[in-house]
Symmetry: C2
Subunit: 411 residues, 2 copies
């Protein structure tokens, strides 16, 4: 099945979330994405979660549909192979994604000397090249201090590596934009971005920086409330918890109507001298609204609430743990055309997603497993670099490259 990016070839030298996710996103749209790693595996070869026998579920998740080359970059012959691969000819090739900071043979000037129209996208930690990960970027910009129960002063970090995921999307954007530019001008370039800058820009994009500067306020923790309008979690009689949203006027009116509390809400607005059809006024009356709504939820079970809410088109959801979501949510099963149960080497059979995007001019690409480390070494050296089997055999014997290896556990 050909994807929307069929024909494009991208080389990836990476570890962890953002750049592997970027490469996978391209692969899931049909690009030929080649990830190279040292024969003992990259820095993320053992990243948790892992199976009971140590196979990284994280690695398997973020490298689906790529081809894998295992090559010893400590040796000049290995460096030569990687350089040849990145700079291989072809109008749809010469594209390189990386978050590795290799000076000298793998930096942009060196690679550009080998292919003048090379496109390289380089993700840094901070703009100054300092190390940074999601777990450090996030505290530095304030999100954990605004997360969690009202009144608490303990920071709560999110468990989703959100900045990495966002940065990964930006790496794809930058690559596709730079390739568009190359198609028009013939010129390649290096696009640089830093994880910290991606997060800093978003802080401003969401109006949080503006809130500090214009209003002189420091947003406090507000539990699970939807900021600036109405949205709240409620406990049901059955012990399940639901989130309900009254962000837009339509959502708010729908919610009040289903709960049958229109008169009570009107009275509350009058008592507080607020116009609850305005989102900011709903935010101001959040606690009182929640107190008014809570008994309704506390008296009902999920089986009763779900059809009522769905029938009225409300925006709501149930809370689940990860395991409950996997076992209960049809969106994580083959009921979802994005998902298919496939076999992942070292892991077993499980539901695996392809791209969340469907393109109407093309059949949806099914998900592909992640490669075993070095699974495509021979194939890549032959197809892309044009090496003969004798040459490939010699490189294998010398340990410059390796085929289908299980990553070595950390010493």
């Amino acid at each position: 099945m050909a994807g929307v990016l069929a024909g494009m070839r991208v080389v990836e030298g990476s570890a962890f979330v953002a750049v592997p996710l970027a490469g996978m996103t391209l692969a899931q749209m049909g690009a030929d994405v080649i990830r190279f790693d040292r024969p003992q595996g990259g820095l993320d070869a053992h990243r948790w979660p892992v199976t009971r026998d140590g196979t990284s579920l994280f690695w398997a998740g973020l490298n689906k549909g790529k081809r894998s080359l295992a090559v010893d970059m400590a040796r000049p012959e290995g460096q030569e192979i990687v350089t040849d691969l990145i700079c291989a000819p072809g109008p749809d090739a010469g594209m390189f994604l990386t978050n590795l900071r290799v000076r000298g043979w793998m930096d942009y000037p060196a690679l550009k000397a080998r292919r003048d129209d090379l496109i390289m996208v380089s993700l840094l930690g901070t703009r100054r090249g300092e190390p940074a990960v999601d777990y450090t970027v996030n505290p530095s910009l304030g999100f954990p201090m605004a997360t969690g129960a009202e009144g608490s002063s303990d920071p709560v970090a999110h468990v989703l590596p959100a900045w990495d995921c966002i940065a990964g999307g930006m790496v794809v954007n930058a690559l596709l934009a730079a390739e568009r530019h190359r198609l028009r001008t013939g010129r390649g370039q290096v696009a640089e971005l830093a994880l910290k800058d991606v997060a800093a820009a978003m802080l401003a994009n969401l109006g949080i920086l503006g809130e500090v500067v214009a209003n002189g306020v420091d947003r406090p923790k507000a539990g699970n409330s939807l900021y600036g309008a109405y949205g709240q979690d409620f406990l049901l009689a059955c012990g399940r918890r639901v989130m309900v949203i009254g962000l837009t006027d339509r959502q708010w009116r729908g919610l009040v109507k289903v709960l049958g509390l229109a008169q009570e809400v009107a009275n509350l607005g009058q008592r507080m001298a607020l116009d609850l059809s305005r989102e900011g006024d709903r935010w101001a009356a959040g606690k009182e609204i929640t107190a008014l709504f809570a008994p309704w939820f506390a008296a009902r079970r999920l089986e009763e609430v779900a059809p009522l809410f769905d029938g009225a088109g409300l925006t709501w959801s149930v809370f689940r743990s990860f395991a409950e979501a996997v076992h209960q949510d049809p969106d994580l099963s083959e009921d979802n055309p994005m998902m298919r149960v496939i076999h992942q080497p070292g892991v077993g059979s499980l539901p695996v997603p392809g791209s969340p995007v469907s393109f109407s001019d093309l059949a949806r690409m099914g998900p592909a497993p992640a490669p075993v480390l070095g699974e495509h070494t021979e194939e890549i050296l032959g197809d892309v670099l044009g090496l003969g089997s004798g040459q490939i055999g010699k490189l294998m014997d010398q340990g410059v490259v390796a085929q289908g290896v299980v990553p070595k556990r950390a010493a």
Copy 2:
């Protein structure tokens, strides 16, 4: 200054985070992005945070650098203008981003009838077209139940609209990929994705789905610990809090060395029969490691710790509130070439980011303010649709379009 996407024109019919962010991302790379809204403002015209006099800082943050058209889509003449705009000729035009669910005149078949090679990217809530927002998608997939203090059973939702931000990047990816396809084949298409699917795919991409299926476990809350290796927050003598990371072998050895606790760490490993050079073993011994490290931090102030950690190249950060970040972090000031202090109408002067990505073949584009609603109505009707001033004046008089209006407050 010309951006990497100079010449591209994209029309956006949207509200809230994901699609506005996608349009802004394109604008910040140099595309001409036209957002249309009804004259009273879209659903997000008043979205919090807002200034004291009600100007939406959120809207200002997510619509920078776009052109704004105010048009009454309840009227056939307004629908005609929007259709003409979306389907305007030109090889670099005919691209439409939306999260509005308008059946009939603004759906893909109707628009395709007007421009056969139209590219449309449509973001849904769920794949079934049900409403969904970040605040509902997140609980349904399990993240809040895995966030927050160990042992707690209360869900903690993240305050960053992470799924929206990730989906926004995917909208850009889909548009650029579809445009690449159109350049090669002449064929347009509609690309569809759902916010819930973006999150469901990421749950699997990060190995969390695999962890449930392969290991039969439900990941518990673990406070601010870095999952699966070592990373922890510590309170300093001065009351400040820092996050330190020992994810890679290099980070871990660096941290232990700076703390001067190599022997104690070796003893701990021996006592627990763990090999602390392995990330999973560090995770298993996390509590004991933290107990060993905490007195070091409790005895030192930030002024002492910061130069030590920076000097050793450790991966670490300080915790800040939003206001502390804005006031203290140079990455949120003009010290950062991404940021510039500009004037935002209705808000005032504040540091505003451009794109986090710098492209070496082009000068960095400075940030542009968000438009006032309908700021470019005349200009767009003239330049893009070729209407004369008489026709534009008539449409204004009839209230079909409006120029430079302040969005009406919700009734």
